[in-house]
Amino acid sequence: MFDIVIHDVYYLSFAMILILVLGGGIIAVTSKSLIYCFFGLVGSLLGVAGLYYNLGSPLVAVMQIMIYIGAVCVAIAFGVSLTRKSEDEGVNPPDIKAAIPIVLVTAMLGSTLKGLEGRHIVASAHKIDESRIGWMLLKEYLLPFEIISILLTVAVLGAVTIALINRRIG
């Protein structure tokens, strides 16, 4: 009776994660209240972490939570709590322009799936050691890694500069 293994639960968890990702995404895009958008985004990103875990990479899943929810979403929450826009004004409702990326993404995904149709895909699931990822980031991919950090530094400096200019004018 108790010989149900995790493997059977896998599909159930996958369905729940899908609901979280898609539901969160829909709330994030369509909701009028800024805070609902924010929590929709959090739900969606959490779901993506679950997807990574389901794909057999717990390290990436944990990193997804840490970076996207711990850093990005907290920064957004910080921004939201500093905005003066009251809830009654709301966010602009999505107009016809919002349909363009939806159509484009759907077309892209559809054509990809069409191209893959009939081909036999073998998932190569050889596990990569976490320490190897670390070595690769610090040896072979050191330059791109550092360039990304320069990009972030430039973004932070830009934000500080903009804030300072606004403060002087105000």
Binding site: D3, I4, H7, F39, L59, I65, F78
Partner: protein, 316 residues
């Protein structure tokens, strides 16, 4: 992956029992410690030395009505305590109590606990926003503001220990301290860790998002009955997890003479929790701007310098 559903259910029941029992003990201990620090006795009526007081309070809270304010954002208001509590069940999984007593050995256990600890702040923000109360909102906003100031020193602390051990697994970190505890190598880091963890668990003198003398009760001003109790369950469980991490990272985990491993782990965990309670009744609450500048200007450079020195010593 051939873990049976039965063992998963077993873990969940075990962790739920631990969360509940821990909260019962800690609420009682908190009141007793507070009492004795102020030359009072604390709860004495229910059971010997009032040990059953928390159970009586728990029954009272369960039987109370959950009042939802008319103007509150109902879904967010109801979701907040759940968001606060649920990550604990996952965060307790990789915590080792002895060489063999551990729900699940994960090679990234440390990262998992820290990542899930972040979700508590989201729960507080949800509560603050959902209550539609200015004190609650201020409490939620403060929780988000302070997360940036303490999380980075905390992560650098943890990174230093990871660097010394070469593993993310809490079990490996504890095993590596068989002879010498990390606190002897890294006393400054231990102090930084305790301060950041006091911040993370919203304990006085850093309980800005509650701050009863400034914000009524902060983010949980509007919560009653079970909503309130879930927040408290979450807070005491986060204290347990934080103290458990301190035990494994700095105090050698289950290592100790004579007593079995689990006993040592629990003694160390509750000693650190006692230390945090001691803080509460010793230090007055600092102002939030003082704490933010303390976090950015003292804790962060201190932990970074310590990190660099450790890296240098390890490279030699």
């Amino acid at each position: 992956m051939n873990i049976s559903l039965l063992s998963v259910v077993g873990y969940l029941v075990g962790i739920a029992a631990l969360v509940g029992l821990n909260a019962v003990i800690l609420v009682w201990l908190e009141r007793k410690v507070a009492g004795h620090m102020q030359f009072r006795l604390g709860p004495m009526e229910v059971g010997p030395h009032g040990i059953l007081q928390t159970l009586a309070d728990g029954i009272k809270l369960v039987s109370k009505q959950l009042v939802i304010p008319d103007e509150a954002d109902k879904p967010l208001f109801l979701l907040a305590p759940i968001v606060s509590l649920v990550p604990i069940f996952a965060a307790m999984v990789p915590l080792p109590f002895s060489e063999t007593v551990q729900a699940w050995e994960l090679n990234i256990g440390l990262l998992l606990i820290i990542a899930l600890g972040l979700l508590n702040t989201l729960g507080i923000l949800l509560a603050g926003w959902g209550s539609n109360n200015k004190y609650a909102l201020l409490g939620g906003a403060r929780a988000v503001a302070q997360i940036l100031a303490y999380k980075i020193p905390l992560l650098i602390c943890v990174m230093t220990i990871i660097m010394m051990t070469g593993s993310y697994s809490l079990r490996d970190i504890a095993i590596a301290q068989k002879d010498t505890w990390n606190v002897l190598y890294q006393p400054i880091l231990f102090i930084v860790y305790i301060i950041t963890v006091t911040l993370e668990t919203n304990r006085s003198p850093f309980d800005f998002s509650e701050a009863e003398s400034e914000l009524v009760a902060g983010f949980h001003t509007e919560y009653s009955g079970m909503g309130f109790s879930l927040f408290f369950l979450a807070e005491y469980s986060y204290m347990f997890i934080a103290a458990g991490l301190a035990t494994v990272l700095f105090l050698g985990g289950w290592h100790g003479p004579w007593l079995p491993g689990v006993a040592w782990t629990l003694i160390k965990i509750y000693s650190i929790i006692f230390l945090m309670m001691w803080f509460r009744w010793t230090f007055p609450r600092v102002r939030i701007d003082q704490m933010l500048s303390f976090g950015w200007k003292i804790l962060l450079p201190l932990s970074l310098i310590n990190f660099i020195i450790t890296a240098g010593v390890l490279a030699l």
